[in-house]
């Protein structure tokens, strides 16, 4: 099998990891062991987003972490998603070497087998 082509979209977008910090009911900061994964850039599909950026997933701070995708990632096409996944893991520094699973769609319904009429 030929090696998988690795696309590069760094001329269009930048991937940024931001530590996930929320506020609790008392206004105290709560720090979680994961990053928000953002894509930022002056190109579609980010032009109508505030500051031209969009959260596309989460990635745990743990060693061997994988990108955990959310629906917003699917605003990008497959090679872009693959690049975003790779960039997030590269910036993490200690992430999995494997791309996150993208489950294939359920199998197509099988056509009925042809009946031999002879």
């Amino acid at each position: 099998m030929p090696p998988k082509t690795e696309y590069d979209f760094s001329h269009l977008y930048e991937v940024k990891l931001e530590p996930h910090v929320d506020l609790d009911d008392h206004g105290q900061e709560v720090h979680y062991d994961q990053y928000r994964v953002f894509v930022q850039g002056e190109a579609p599909p980010l032009l109508d987003r505030p500051n031209h950026r969009l959260q596309v997933g989460w990635i745990s701070m743990r060693a061997g972490a994988k990108l955990m995708r959310i629906q917003a990632l699917y605003n990008f096409h497959a090679p872009q998603r693959s690049w975003i996944d790779r960039e997030a893991r590269r910036q993490h520094g200690n992430a999995s070497t494997e791309e996150s699973d993208e489950l294939p769609p359920p199998g197509m319904a099988r056509l009925p087998e042809e009946v031999d009429g002879t």
Binding site: S60, M68, D101
Partner: protein
């Protein structure tokens, strides 16, 4: 910035920080916060019972139904960071989400099968937030 005031039911994502599974979620129940009501009625109270709200919150289990992927691991019962993420509204950068430490307290080890159903195989599991960290909510922005 304009964020949609309303959005549809489609686009939810569940992330398990340690298990890092890609799950095809069909449905999920809401996360429900429950606070105790403490009666403050005394002999001098008139007309109505009076109450104050308790300080400690409880959280119900969140039941998640997923499409079964026979080659995928089942979620573990380890305490881990669990995030429920809603769809990202048009014009928003960040979706509404809830995060906290949680564990799976019930899970289908193996799916059920029914000849009368043409639906996909599915599994059900229940997530319980443990109250150690969070859960906290992020509003869409």
């Amino acid at each position: 910035m304009s964020v949609q005031a309303y959005d549809t039911q489609l686009g939810f994502a569940l992330t398990l920080g340690t298990d890092a599974l890609s799950l095809r979620v069909k449905s999920t129940t809401p996360l429900h916060e429950i606070l105790q009501k403490i009666k403050t009625t005394y002999q001098g109270t008139t007309a109505k019972n009076t109450y104050i709200v308790g300080e400690l919150a409880d959280y119900n289990g969140v039941t998640v139904v997923i499409q079964n992927s026979p080659g995928l691991a089942n979620p573990t019962s380890a305490a881990q960071t669990v995030t429920l993420t809603g769809p990202t509204a048009t014009g928003a950068s960040v979706p509404e989400s809830i995060t906290g430490s949680a564990f799976v307290i019930e899970k289908d080890m193996f799916p059920g099968f029914d000849i009368a159903s043409e639906d996909l195989q599915q599994k059900v599991f229940v997530i319980q937030y443990d109250g150690v960290t969070g859960p906290t909510r992020t509003t869409s922005s």
